[in-house]
């Protein structure tokens, strides 16, 4: 009973939050609604007994990813309303058909795979975090190391890409200097284009 109430409550909240994220024309509303939606999703993980996954969801998504988006949004003009252009209706119909097939596959998947055996069965004698550690560092050690290398590559890529021209502080410069900088930017980019 408690599980059902929690499931329906958080399902409704998550759906509302993500619908706001997708439908709003203000970038700031989208960001806040998505951060709330991420926290509500972690509630499902706690209901399902995946405690460690729920904690990681809160730390990584609402802590790191959302902070990164908030940081990135400082660079963009977020007060401007987002304009959506109408696309070709035939394109939308094709994409909708593909999505429908995908949905059917997802719903059919548990019926088709009813006779599967558990690879790494859940052991009730140890806690979730301990069991996750044991499986992750024995059976999934190589993917874990690869994920670590991938995160390192992503971090270096992020620093290199976003760190360009970080030495010039736009807030401390006069308007003329900024205009000059933009003019040199435009000429250099056009030179690259040629």
């Amino acid at each position: 009973m408690f599980e059902a109430v929690a499931f329906y409550l958080f399902a409704a909240l998550t759906l509302v939050m993500f619908t706001i994220t997708v439908m709003t024309s203000q970038a700031l509303y989208a960001l806040t609604a998505m951060a709330a939606g991420m926290i509500f999703i972690s509630a499902f993980f706690f209901i399902l007994g995946a405690d460690f996954l729920g904690a990681i969801q809160i730390i990584v998504y609402t802590g790191a990813v959302m902070a990164l988006y908030a940081f990135g949004m400082m660079f963009f003009d977020t007060t401007r309303r987002v304009v959506e252009k109408r696309t070709n209706p035939r394109f939308i119909i094709v994409l909708g058909a593909i999505s429908a097939v995908l949905v059917a596959l997802i719903v059919l998947a548990p019926i088709v795979t009813n006779n599967l055996n558990a690879y790494y069965p859940i052991d009730p004698s140890v806690g979730n975090t301990q069991a996750i550690g044991m499986v992750l560092f024995t059976k999934y050690l190589v993917p874990f190391e690869l994920a670590a290398v991938m995160l390192l590559v992503a971090m270096i890529a992020g620093i290199v890409l976003a760190g360009k021209k970080m030495d010039k502080s736009l807030t401390l410069m006069a308007e003329e200097e900024i205009a000059l900088l933009h003019a040199s930017n435009v000429t250099s980019s056009t030179e690259e284009a040629h």
């Binding site: 998550t14 990584v60 990164l68 990135g72 987002v82 992750l136 999934y140």
Partner: protein, 101 residues
């Protein structure tokens, strides 16, 4: 009133559809990134639910790797987006037609 695996899979599918709608209708690249995050998160719910109802840790493991991939995707994607915005002043998808094809 018991919550079964189907409940979670239907919820995961609905969230995935919301993300797909976002990917289809957004032209602003930042909003497109938000929609991709929704897609990844909806799949994570399905993974954790299957892990719970099948009594297997594999689903949770895959959810961890999906989270790691999402984090690195955001780092690289936002870096590229900032570079593009510094160059052009816009992050609209329709204006990224520099290739003559």
């Amino acid at each position: 009133m018991e919550i079964t695996l189907t409940h979670y899979l239907v919820l995961s599918t609905i969230l995935f559809s919301i993300g797909l709608i976002g990917v289809m209708r957004r032209k602003n690249l930042l909003m497109l990134f938000f929609a991709t995050e929704i897609l990844l998160n909806s799949v994570n719910i399905g993974m954790a639910a299957i892990s719970h109802y099948r009594g297997d840790y594999t689903g949770q493991m895959f959810a961890f790797f999906i989270i790691a991939i999402a984090a690195s995707e955001v780092a690289v994607g936002l870096g590229l987006l900032i570079v593009w915005y510094k160059r052009t002043g816009k992050i609209d998808l329709d204006l990224m037609t520099s290739m003559k094809g």
